[in-house]
Symmetry: C2
């Protein structure tokens, strides 16, 4: 076990032990532990093939952790868990074929088909953040150019705003940037609230791109619902959703999109926790 | 029944009666008639909601035809039938999640998920020809701009070639166009064979776009196989497939595409006929 993976297992163990102590739960009443992981993994074997932000590669979390905590362990990609949570416990439970897109630093997607999480041929479905929108666009972390997340993530919006500020464009953010403060979703929301035209322009451009990518995915997959979540959407859904829907309508093929609903995630950050319940139901064949 | 729909039912009836007569088949041995239809339809109810090229709208073919020929009738979208045929009887039978794309005058797609045809939320899945590649691109028949089929169908390639010929660009096609001969896939193939640089340029551009759209679909859906068919691919697969694969590799997200195979349909025009067999198996729960 490399340093990173040992540290990861150590902290999960600590969290579990702490939680059991604090809540006074009895071990025999704990059916399973569910972990959402930002990376590529196989939920059946419990092996994470790659999770760059956790420093994990080809690592069997399920096995290692079960030995430490003597409890059943389930793992799933964090975005898939979010999609599952939205589908089973949120507004989206009325849908059949659903796409969930979470917009934050990057952009991730999860897919429900016929009421079940769709994981794809090698557990890599839903990489909508790496759909190429402009092949001559900005370089992405994945090495390609013009991926969706290089144009419409919070990181992309902030990058474009900072570039305009360097070119002496006016904005209420000027002061914040001078103070080197990080521009988070909440700050962008405040700027929109105060009708800052620079911020509104860049967020509107992102919404146009979001509408285009959602329309293209729907043209192929004929989804009946799209759930949007993540920090940016949660802070700005009242502003972004109408612009995204307008753009979607412009780019969507009529037949494939006439019955679709586009909604904001109504479970906030907890959506992935709810996904954990649904995952346990799927894998343990129990109703919680 | 409008004039068009009556004419359509009349011709299908005539074909069926003729075929029974010529083959000497006994009616009691005919399990069903399967019809592939270029349009939006519900295979369960037998209602075609819209098939512009046949002049049909909200028309129950299954019911009307059954009354005439006293045989069971199944209908399916023609591209879905092609995808089914490729999946059940072609090279693609080894796959689990497959995309079939047929490139001709337009571009149509069919999707297999977990070994079954995926029809979407209102039977409109697979409209990959209307994925928008360039929102400032040429106007499409659907009213939008820059749809995949306005850039990479045979019709689009021919349009671009004709426009270059009008601008006095050199090509072996010059003589053919002067004679007002229609440029079909076979003629394009002959031009490529004779190393005509104008035709090669436009077909290569189309292949780049095809690779991009296939990569984007795979980034989202993590398919394990893509089958390419239609007149253009059948005439030019030896030239187009390597260019498409090269482009796909450039645009695909590594994780979502590492196990994918891209192949040419090996059943030719018969692929939809084979799809009819698979459709009968699905709906009648029989093994043929």
């Amino acid at each position: 076990m490399s340093g990173n993976s040992k540290g990861y297992i150590d902290s999960i163990e600590r969290i579990v032990v702490d939680l059991i102590e604090k809540t006074g739960l009895k071990r025999k009443n704990i059916k399973t532990i569910c972990i959402g992981i930002p990376g590529a993994l196989n939920p059946h074997t419990g092996v994470v093939s790659l999770a760059p932000n956790l420093g994990l590669r080809n690592f069997n979390i399920k096995e290692k952790l079960r030995k430490r905590i003597a409890l059943n362990v389930l793992i799933e990609n964090d975005v898939n868990l979010g999609a599952l949570g939205a589908y089973k416990f949120g507004e989206a439970k009325k849908s059949k074929n659903m796409l969930a897109v979470f917009i934050g630093t990057g952009i991730g997607g999860g897919i429900i088909i016929d009421g079940k999480i769709y994981r794809g041929s090698n557990y890599s479905a839903g990489e909508i953040g790496h759909v190429i929108v402009d092949k001559n666009g900005p370089v992405c972390g994945c090495g390609k150019n013009g991926c969706f997340e290089t144009l419409a993530s919070r990181a992309a919006i902030v990058k474009n705003i900072l570039s305009d500020l360097k070119n002496k464009k006016k904005s209420v953010l000027n002061k914040l940037v001078l103070n080197n403060k990080q521009i988070k979703s909440r700050i962008l929301a405040a700027a929109v609230q105060s009708k800052d035209s620079l911020v509104i322009k860049h967020i509107s451009n992102a919404c146009d791109t979001i509408g285009l990518v959602l329309a293209n995915a729907t043209n192929v997959m004929n989804f009946d619902m799209i759930v949007l979540g993540g920090g940016l959407i949660e802070a700005l859904d009242y502003f972004m959703l109408p612009v995204i829907k307008e753009s979607f309508k412009m780019y969507a093929f009529k037949d494939a999109s006439k019955k679709i609903k586009i909604i904001a995630n109504d479970l906030g950050d907890d959506v992935a926790l709810y996904g954990g319940i649904a995952l346990a139901e799927e894998f343990l064949k129990i109703q919680i």
